[in-house]
Structure formats: C-alpha cells, structure tokens
Symmetry: C2
Subunit: 335 residues, 2 copies
Amino acid sequence: MADVARLAGVAQKTVSRVINHEPNVRDEVRARVFAAVEQAGYRPNAAARALVTQRTRTLGVVTMSTTFRGPSAILAGVEAAAREAGYSIVLTRTATGEPRAISEAMDSLVARGVDGIVILEPAESTATIGHETPGTPVLLFEDRPGESPEWIHVGADDRGACREAVEYLLGLGHGTVHHVAGPAGWRTSDARAEGWRAALEGARRIVPPALAGDWTAASGYAAGLALAAQPDVTAVFCANDDMAIGLIHALESRGLSVPGDVSVVGMDDTDVSAYLHTPLTTLAQDFDAIAREGVERLLDEVEGRAPESRREAVPVELRVRASTAPPPAKRREAR
Amino acid sequence: MADVARLAGVAQKTVSRVINHEPNVRDEVRARVFAAVEQAGYRPNAAARALVTQRTRTLGVVTMSTTFRGPSAILAGVEAAAREAGYSIVLTRTATGEPRAISEAMDSLVARGVDGIVILEPAESTATIGHETPGTPVLLFEDRPGESPEWIHVGADDRGACREAVEYLLGLGHGTVHHVAGPAGWRTSDARAEGWRAALEGARRIVPPALAGDWTAASGYAAGLALAAQPDVTAVFCANDDMAIGLIHALESRGLSVPGDVSVVGMDDTDVSAYLHTPLTTLAQDFDAIAREGVERLLDEVEGRAPESRREAVPVELRVRASTAPPPAKRREAR
DNA sequence: CTTGCAGTTGACAGCGCTGTCATCGCGGTT
DNA sequence: AACCGCGATGACAGCGCTGTCAACTGCAAG
C-alpha cells in the first residue's frame, strides 16, 4: 500500500480511503490512486485489515455432512447470501455430532476470528453445548427456539409439516403410519418424529415404535426389511427421501408394491425424487429461503443492526406423487 | 497475550513460544504459561499471526455446486484432509463456470490470503483462465495434465473408466451405445464423452450424437424422452447417476423396460443408486482418496516440500447391477 | 578459577492496515 | 479585513503477534 501511495503521490491513508470507498476524496486523486493500484498489481491484505478492524467479514459454518440434501442445500444458500453481503465462508465439518466436537469446531472458528457462526444440522446437543462465544453471534438452523436464547434460530416448521404429511396419509384411510426416523438425538430427527407422533395421537391412533435410520438409503433398506415382515404396515413416513428410496426397494424386494400395498412419504425432495420408478410423495422446503433468512438475521446481529424479529414461518409443501394411495383391502404377505 | 505473559510472569515472547510448541522452554515455565492461558481464557489471534507469518493455514475452495455427488464428496474429503493437516477451508461458489467468475473467485481468495487454492469441477475454461496467482499454488481436480503446468492435477481416469464402461456394454452385445453428457465445455463432461467415443471408435461402431444434460435428473428425463423415440437405441451411458435415473424414468414412462429393452449405465454411484427399483450399474470412484491425494500434493507445494510426483492413478470401479443386460432380440416400440 | 557452550529467556522491531487528530486551503460570513 | 467552517489530506500510533538478536543462566571442560 505504501508503494501505491508513493506511485500516486499521496499518503498511505488516502489510498486506504480510496480502497474502502470512503467519501471526501477528490475524483482526480481517486482516479490517480486507482491507476496506481492497477499498475502496482496491489491487493489489500485481509489479515492486516482484520487485525486493526477486529472484523474479518467471514462467517464460520459447522456441519456434519455436506452430502445430504438438506445441509448441502442450506450450505449453498448460506454461501450465496454471505457472498452477496461481502462475507466469506469458512467451512468446518465434524465427524461426529458430539457436543465436544461441535464445541471444538466453534472454538477454532472463533480463533480464526469469524464474525458469526452458523450451525447446520443442529444435533440435540447443540442446545446443551452451552458454549460461550463472547461477541460472536450464532445461527442455528432449527425450528424450535430451544433453550439458548442468545442464539438465532431459523428453520421450517418441521414438526408441523410432518404432522400434515401424516394426517394426509391418515386421510387416505390408513389405520396408522409407521416412521423411519433420522439418527436419534438430532434436532431434525426429533422434530420430524414429534410431528409424526402428534398427528397419530391427535387422531387417536396407535403409535408404533419408530425405526431409527441414519439418513442413508442403506438404513432405509434395513428398516424396510423389518417393516415388510409386519403384515399390518400400510403406510410409512420416512424422515428423508434417501431412506424412503431404500425402504421402497426393500418392500419391493419382498414382493410388496408401493403404493399398492404400502404407501410411502419422504422428506426433502431430492433432485431425483420425482424421477424414480415410483415418483415419491415428499415434503419440500425452500432451503434457499431458510438459508437467506438465517444469514440475514445473523448479519443483522453481526453488524449491530436491530434484528428484525419477523420470524416469518418458512413454508413446507407436501408434493403428492405416486408413492401414496389409499390402503389395500388386504395387504399382501411379504415373501 | 500480554496479559497472559504478565499473569505467568514471563515475556510475551515466551508465551508465544509455548503456544507454538517451540522447544527450549523449561517445563515449569511451560506449565505456568498454560495455566495463565487457561485463567485468562486466552485465544490466539489468527489475523495477527497471519500478518506476521504471511501464512494463514487456510485453503480456498472454488466450486460451482455443492449438491451433486462428485463435488460434494470431494469437498468433504478436502475438508477432512485439510483439517487433519491443521488447515481451514474457505468456500467460494461461483454461480456460473465462466472463466471470469472463476478468476474473480480466485482473486478474492488470494486477497483473503489463502495459502493454496482448490478448484473442484474444473470447467474447460480453467485451462484457459490463465490466471496468475503468484505464490499461491493451485490444485485442479481433473485427470488431464492440461496446458497449465504450474497447477497440480489430480483426478481419476475418467476417460479410461468411461471407455471401459462402454466396452462392457459392447461386450454384452449392444451394437452401439448412446451417451447423455454433462454440460458442454466442462472438463469432466468432456473427458467422459471422450472415453465413450474412444470405446466406440476402438470397436469401429457408429458414434451417435451425444445428448447434452446438465447433471440433473430432469435433464436426463428429457434425454430419455428423445432416446425412447429412436427404435435402435438399446444402450445408454449417462455421465452421472442423477441423469441416468431421469433417463430410466422417461424410458419406462414410454413403455420401455430397463434393462429389458434398454441398458443404462450411470456414473458416480450415488447413495441411492443401489436401492433404486432397478439398481443402477455405475462407475464408482474413490472421491475421498482423490481429495486426499490432491490436498497432500497441494500442501507439499504450499509448505515447500518436494512434491512427490507419484501420481498413482486413482482407480475407478465398474459396479454391475441390474440396469444392464444383453440387448433384446427386438426392442419394443415406445408408446 | 576461567572459558566455552548449550539451553533458556527477554527486548524490540515491524508485518500492512485503519482510526484519530492535526493541518491546510478555500469560499462564504460578519 | 478578519473570521469561520468544511472538505480534503496527511502524520502517526498501534492492532496482536513472531523473528531476530542479545543477554543471561548453569555446567562441563581446560
């Protein structure tokens, strides 16, 4: 920067002013500085700027997986929203969802000097992390305000949406609905399971035990094998589409038809969900809107603006496709 | 840090030594410093360190999408490998793959002071970007050494693998194989299309025009509709699984069966590929190995080590499942 | 008892930038 | 004519850390 100043025949401070688009610089000087910047191939040093301003214009993201539909879609939205606001993203994955791992990740982000932290896929534990990040606001993508009032919570109404999906199945005439849940302990899994349970209890139906998956098609397949063996199962709600795909495959491999014998509803509307052999009925949420809303609120906090707590519910839409139908008069026996 | 020094009754420099695990500090002093660090709740300031060392221990990643199987799997591997080596990841997405957008992203990463740059999903244009990043090594995930000798290239042998897949289809007895490619101009699309073409030409078969998709199931569906109308089509190789899924759906919706009438091979082995109604024959590559290999080589460069140019080919495996079979005596007409 | 040397510690400068405050013109007021 | 106010500019300090080099220990060797 000193070089540029010399080249332009101005003080270093003036170069700084021009670079940062501060007012009160004559146009002629501004032009001269820009020319010098160009000539010297000057690029401002972010570290030095961060050192003095105590701001890095960087957001830290903590996630556990980048491959599943939900987190990867939200990540994309977060990145876009951040970039538009002039922020960069520092990405940290934690192999496990343990509070310790998350705490460590947050610590390393704070050390990195991020201005805010975003936690995708909150595990149950996030509420209990109770991790202090003095001066660094935290955004959690979950629909329940939870027990950490300091943190910002944004998310679709998983619980309500799932309840609706199950009620739709009940409305079709199914006696009850089984559930393949995500990993126990995760907020998302729990919220979805709660919605399912609420619908069942609201309609005074039997609440069968939920099967626990891990979001993968393989775990859905395993659950499907178990469910195929129970002759009374006619409707299953899966906590995501991948598991629903695995489940359907298991059902079909046991000679059952979907939706002939068993109706299946998934969640998240994967890119391929509409193009399966049996297009999947699923719950679609606008991940991009959720991400943007969250980042906006986080940046309000970061930049000391009044955080408009509009907290408009982000809508979830039930997309009815071919995997659901009224229950059969008599369900086939599994092979 | 000054506070910690005062608390421990040592010089600031000694605290610095302890923090950085430098030798030549008495154990007793070291313990005292650690205690003071704990007591003061001290966290080193990365910006200040970066300012003086000129190193940020940060890698910049440029990508276009985080949702498709390939890039998201590689991203995960890159993050893991980087974290294990003590590096953080700064993520930048570019909406388009234009050279300009990529150049800009790289510029912003350089300004951010990253020690190295990783480009996922290289577009054709990356070779032509010709972007100078003096002092910042660049890693490209592509199998062809390309025209930019300065940059590190790591990738599975897409071309060879695709050739094998097509030869497998030919070996089944198919007269020729059609191809649904990725977006034109991308390295990955091109390499895969080249492999397909090479196999066909090697066997002296007719090379039908390739259909261009955009990696999504929807584009595969569109291609499938077109292919269903051509009665001579009995085998299709898709540049990824999502498009293959869309394609199969289109074929089936036109009354054709897979693999009865048409055999389909995909690529990338998505989480759900083995669990589809017709489990998909596909090409699986070890993304994690590719990512680790790449990061290792990049860090060799970053840290000034001799970059062991072992360049072991990362293997690609053909997973034969139910979507491929010998061609029918007479292919059905599409509805 | 001196000398040398390795191991240990500290003083100080400076990385590249921005915030603060002083300074300098210039035109408009009294 | 003296004054004021404001826009434009610059001098300088200092953000929190590490690299350099000097200084100071104790102990073994001469």
